[in-house]
């Protein structure tokens, strides 16, 4: 049984102008100890998926339909109290803005300990702090910094502390939402190394969210490319990057400058992302697509399997495939 299986997840935000379809019909699955990366432009719904999985959508967010099977249990059906228990103990999350994810007026160690104590009150504060020390060592933080406040930490240290915290209850799934965005390349490098090592050590499933393709490419077994609330291409890393099927994926890749390989001209994607309150009828990428055919406009695209485990949401692929 897969650790996590998401089927046809749709999440809307209620806004003044109507329902904003932030996530629309997303399905994927994740095995224990595997890693899955989501890539896409800003506003395509990556964070929303993460929040949806945690059951922590903002008050105006609603799950319209879908299923989130986690260890066989549908998280959308459990009660709030049960969901609370699942959080962190089973699924932990590393947030986008790690810089602010720690409470400024509490000592870092206490905050990490709190994560344990919430789910295991009988542990006792002493023991929890002991455990925190171990965690700190694990992520490469000096244990004498346990009693410091967050503002005394550098960005990288905060991120490590949060990773330590995410490991506090040994969860089986960690959702990492742009965990290194604010960091320097060298620090980012170290943090990513840390995450990978820990993932291996504890056999944790990771959902890795980023807008930086290169990071996801390095980190994950499977890649999901997102565009305007939809998953447009999904498959193993090698397949997606070596033979991208969806025009959007291709466009994205060619607009990304690289350090290796030949220095080619970048081809930017023209235009802008569609309005998610009134998304286009047919393919959402239609307006910006270089390879559009009239059918894309009217027909709602369907998933096309390119190769085993590699699929794309595109009319053209569908036609070509036929």
């Amino acid at each position: 049984m897969a650790l996590l299986e998401v089927e046809d997840l749709c999440i809307d935000y209620k806004t003044k102008n109507g329902y904003l379809k932030a996530v629309d019909g997303v399905s994927f699955s994740l095995e224990r100890g595997a890693s899955l990366g989501f890539v896409g432009e800003s506003g395509c719904g990556k964070t929303t998926i993460g929040m949806g999985l945690m059951g922590m959508l903002p008050p105006n967010g609603v799950v319209r339909r879908g299923r989130i099977l986690f260890e066989g249990e549908d998280l959308l059906r459990v009660s709030a109290e049960e969901m609370r228990r699942v959080r962190w103990r089973k699924i932990a999350m590393i947030f986008q803005a790690a810089m602010n994810a720690l409470n400024p007026v509490q000592r870092v160690g206490e905050q990490v300990a709190e994560a344990m104590l919430v789910h295991n009150p009988s542990l006792g504060k002493e023991k929890a702090l002991k455990a925190v020390e171990e965690l700190f060592e694990l992520v490469g933080l000096q244990t004498d910094r346990i009693r410091d406040y967050p503002h005394q930490y550098s960005g990288g240290m905060k991120q490590r502390a949060i990773i330590a915290m995410s490991l506090a209850c040994r969860p089986s799934l960690i959702i990492a939402d742009e965990p290194t965005t604010a960091l320097d390349v060298i620090v980012q490098d170290q943090i990513l190394a840390e995450i990978r090592a820990l993932q291996k050590e504890f056999n944790i499933g990771i959902i890795f969210i980023s807008h930086d393709i290169s990071i996801v490419a390095d980190m994950c077994h499977d890649i999901g490319i997102m565009y305007a609330g939809q998953l447009v291409e999904y498959g193993p890393r090698e397949d997606v990057f070596d033979s991208p099927a969806h025009p959007y994926t291709r466009a994205l890749l060619s607009s990304f400058p690289t350090l290796t390989g030949k220095r080619t001209d970048l081809v930017p994607i023209a235009g802008e992302t569609p309005d998610l309150v009134h998304p286009p009828e047919g393919c959402r990428f239609y307006d910006r697509c270089q390879e559009q055919i009239p059918a894309c406009r009217e027909k709602v695209s369907r998933w096309v399997a390119i190769s085993p485990g590699h699929k794309a949401l595109c009319c053209r692929c569908e036609m070509d495939g036929r």
């Binding site: 209620k14 806004t15 003044k16 903002p58 008050p59 105006n60 569609p274 309005d275």
Partner: protein
């Protein structure tokens, strides 16, 4: 394509940015219950102030200060001729109440206006000039800020004799700018750091241009927001001063009415006289306060209710 529709929609209004901004603001304002209540109350008081000119025209006995009812020589309750009754001299309470609304508006708005002009000018100077000027002005502001304004005005009133209402207004303004100027200074400081100011500098803009074209338009909305809060404090200070007997004796203000009630010993037996002025002072401050909070929401994009669930 999306751009096309966008243009046709707002083509006419794009050229009038002020109007657009106003309409947008109004849209948000309208959603605020507090703002609506405040506005309704305020309109009511404005009408009262306007109506204050009417009673003396009907009969000189309705002159709020000097008119007395020829047959009534002591405080009486509401009657046909005097809807809210009369005070101890036989003067009409309603006319006084209406005149009080006028005074409250006058005091509140003019003192607030002066203090925000002063506060904005000083805050912008301090924030923009920095260094010595900043230190000096802000220490001055600190000093004035720690002074309880009412007591200061009280001392000035005692020392320089009974103050005329305009002097009171002026003094209130002189002592209520520091709060505004600190905020404006903070805002100016942060604006000064903003890249768009630097961009203007790099383009060669002079200090005058930066101050008036770039900083001022950005701090003015805030200054106006503060104006509503300053209005309330000015009204309260004037009323309290009048209540203590240090107001302008030539003016019928609500505070003055309360003082009369209190000092002439009618407060236990003439609720018709005690209640209206107090309710009016409280409500007018409430209305400006609510208005201010609603405007705060309009101006503060963080509070904008994009995620409004209703």
């Amino acid at each position: 394509m999306a751009e096309e529709t966008f243009r046709t929609e707002t083509k006419g209004m794009e050229r009038y940015p002020g109007l657009t901004a106003f309409l947008e603001g109004w849209g948000i304002f309208r959603q605020s219950l507090l703002g609506k209540i405040g506005l309704v109350l305020l309109i009511m008081f404005a009408l009262m102030a306007l109506c204050s000119y009417i009673p003396p025209l009907i009969d000189p006995m309705y002159n709020p200060m000097t008119g007395v009812d020829p047959v009534i020589t002591c405080s009486t309750g509401p009657s046909r001729a005097h809807w809210l009754g009369t005070d101890f001299m036989g003067r009409d309470i309603l006319s006084q109440l209406l005149a009080g609304a006028r005074v409250a508006f006058m005091v509140g708005v003019s003192a607030a206006f002066m203090s925000i002009v002063l506060g904005t000018a000083i805050g912008m100077t301090a924030g923009y000039m920095g260094r010595f000027m900043d230190t000096f002005l802000m220490r001055l502001a600190d000093m004035i800020m720690v002074m309880p304004t009412l007591l200061v005005v009280l001392i000035l009133a005692a020392v320089f004799g009974q103050l005329n209402i305009w002097t009171i207004v002026l003094i209130i303004a002189l002592f209520r700018w520091p709060g505004v100027s600190r905020i404006i200074r903070g805002q100016t400081l942060s604006l000064k750091q903003r890249p768009f100011i630097e961009a203007a500098k790099v383009a060669g803009a002079s200090h005058v241009r930066i101050i008036f074209r770039h900083i001022m338009p950005n701090v003015l909305p805030l200054a106006f927001l503060f104006m509503t809060f300053r209005v309330t404090s000015a009204i309260i200070i004037e009323a309290a001063l009048a209540f203590l007997g240090f107001g302008d004796p030539g003016t019928v203000s609500w505070g003055m009415m309360l003082q009369w009630v209190w000092k002439t010993g009618h407060m236990f037996k003439a609720p018709y006289w005690l209640l209206p002025p107090g309710i009016c002072i409280s409500l007018i401050t409430l209305s400006f306060y609510m208005l201010g909070r609603a405007m705060d929401e309009v101006l503060d994009p963080r509070l904008r209710k994009e995620d409004q669930t209703d």
